[in-house]
């Protein structure tokens, strides 16, 4: 639920966790984005880092410039005076994906798990728009949801030690993209040729929280055309 009154918790002497709810849902996450965007447009003195997540924001300060008790008061005030109509609309991004075979080694398993064909998994995955809840785990990795009920899939029992960059995976009701090669336990159904994280670019990540994502199935021989 979306809390009537946010919960404030301290994480050490320089970080304040602002919890706006206690579940994964668009309502709470939208509120997180409203507060996050407001703080970005009008930064508070001494606030050096804001990490938005599903239902919370972690605020990290320079403790020589602001005390957490004062920051909490300022956040309470910001939340009271926040005008959602002034928050810019999120962007919609098409993500091309080559599904199956070497690019989606778990597609067959996912199809069998749900007792459908691999083509049906692809159809379901590309049939809707996903909300980017947060970026985390590794730089540029988007946590997106919700998957249709018929695609809710458990993680792999044994995580892979190497998941290639661009891999598109499923884990419970979430879908995500490995922005760089890393270990991981999501069920990999495809791969995108797009670069999700480039440290040299501004902004470094293709997606930001709140963005709306649509997956588009492409053929392997089309990958090069999409590579930036």
């Amino acid at each position: 639920m979306l809390y009537r009154t946010p919960q404030y918790r301290i994480m050490g002497d320089r970080s304040l966790l602002v919890e706006l709810g206690n579940h994964i849902g668009i309502d709470v996450n939208k509120r997180v984005r409203e507060l996050f965007t407001t703080l970005k447009l009008a930064p508070l003195e001494g606030l050096v880092e804001v990490i938005p997540a599903y239902a919370s924001l972690l605020l990290i300060v320079d403790p020589l410039k602001v005390r957490l008790s004062l920051l909490q008061k300022e956040i309470q005030h910001t939340l009271k005076t926040l005008d959602p109509s002034r928050i810019p609309e999120p962007k919609t991004v098409d993500i091309p994906v080559v599904y199956g075979d070497e690019y989606g080694p778990d597609l067959e398993w996912v199809a069998r798990y749900h007792d459908v064909t691999p083509d049906e998994v692809v159809r379901l995955h590309t049939a809707q728009i996903y909300h980017v809840y947060m970026i985390g785990f590794v730089p540029g990795f988007p946590y997106m949801g919700e998957l249709p009920k018929t695609l809710v899939t458990p993680r792999r029992e044994t995580p892979r030690t190497v998941v290639p960059k661009g891999s598109v995976g499923l884990a419970q009701a979430q879908t995500g993209i490995y922005a760089s090669q890393s270990p991981g336990g999501w069920q990999i159904i495809g791969r995108t040729p797009l670069t999700l994280f480039n440290a040299a670019k501004t902004p470094p990540a293709l997606l930001q929280m709140g963005d709306q994502v649509r997956f588009v199935a492409i053929q392997a021989d089309e990958m090069a055309r999409w590579q930036q």
């Binding site: 994480m11 050490g12 320089r14 919370s56 403790p63 985390g136």
Partner: protein, 325 residues
């Protein structure tokens, strides 16, 4: 600014990376802070050679590299005691030294601590990526091509000659941290301490945990009595942002002190190391033990101010020695 080749890596050691105070402000893109695991040592090291506190230096892990000077430079070694030497002669740590062209800096072996810092006058010139020169090893960016140093690497510095001076300066020995094999870290409870029963919390605060060899820059992994969450709670919490020093307790009930390489996580945090002790976390070595002492926010704040005051005093003391020639 003119950059000059200053150091050649003859042997790199097991893990030597370029780090500064870290990368802040990019957490929303999933980018962690990285940076020196012990920022106190790198800040003092930089001041000793006349650099701004945030310049990049080398973070050296457990065993030293051997490094040859290509040109004359001011250097300092702070943090873990790996017994630094110049041309085989022991040198004092927490002090500035002149490294002459052709001289070799090496390390005899570890005596205490985990990470030692080499600062050089003029810093280490690598591109600034998202406001920092720190190496992010997992995502492979920052520092020197996002990787640990290897044999044959050449490091450059900005105008090293401007940092040479006749009189060496030393950091007051009364202020030099000692890295105990039985460490005590002061913490503030939370943010999820309410997910643990009183008896679990009591066990956490009364036990000694051993640092395991699986510890690295992402976290100090501990082994000790099982710190169980309350019954009936789910295995994990909603992923949320995390700060360096947060002590998470995953499903195996063994705590992990997070350092600067994690930006979000879904494990509950029983407590968080205070700013004034965070640098000591970065010096914990496999085999060490650690216990946690709960302090109040006011105490943590006062200790942080005391430490910042100490660094400020040293900055003022060091500055006159570094007037431009």
């Amino acid at each position: 600014m003119a950059t000059v080749k200053t150091l050649e890596i003859l042997t790199p050691g097991p893990l030597t990376t370029v780090q500064d105070r870290g990368r802040v402000g990019f957490g929303r893109f999933g980018v962690p802070q990285s940076g020196a695991a012990d920022t106190f040592s790198i800040r003092i090291g930089n001041l000793l050679v006349g650099n701004p506190e945030n310049d990049a230096g080398l973070e050296i892990t457990l065993m030293g590299p051997t490094i040859k000077a290509i040109t004359e430079a001011a250097v300092s070694v702070t943090g873990a005691d790996l017994q630094p030497m110049i041309n085989g002669e022991p040198i004092q740590m927490w002090r500035s030294h002149l490294l002459r062209k052709g001289e070799v800096l090496s390390f005899k072996g570890r005596r205490s601590g985990c990470r030692t810092y080499l600062a050089i006058g003029g810093g280490i010139s690598v591109p600034v990526v998202m406001g920092s020169r720190s190496t992010n090893l997992a995502a492979r960016f920052g520092g020197l091509d996002g990787r640990p140093l290897k044999k044959g690497d050449i490091l450059c510095s900005e105008l090293p000659a401007a940092h040479l001076k006749t009189e060496a300066i030393t950091f007051d020995c009364a202020w030099i941290p000692t890295y105990a094999t039985e460490e005590r870290l002061r913490v503030i409870a939370g943010p999820q301490d309410h997910h643990f029963s009183d008896s679990s919390k009591e066990l956490f605060f009364s036990s000694r945990f051993r640092v395991t060899p699986q510890s690295d820059r992402t976290g100090i992994r501990l082994v000790g009595p099982r710190i169980e969450a309350r019954e009936g709670l789910e295995a994990s919490i909603l992923s949320e942002g995390v700060a360096p020093g947060a002590i998470q307790v995953p499903g195996d009930a063994q705590p992990i002190i997070l350092l600067g390489e994690t930006v979000t996580g879904g494990y509950r945090k029983i407590a968080t190391v205070i700013s004034a002790d965070l640098h000591l976390s970065g010096q914990l070595t496999p085999g060490n033990t650690v216990e946690f002492v709960e302090v109040s926010m006011d105490t943590a704040d006062a200790l942080m101010r005391e430490m910042e005051q100490l660094i400020r005093q040293f900055r003022n003391k060091a500055a006159p020695h570094h007037l431009p020639n």
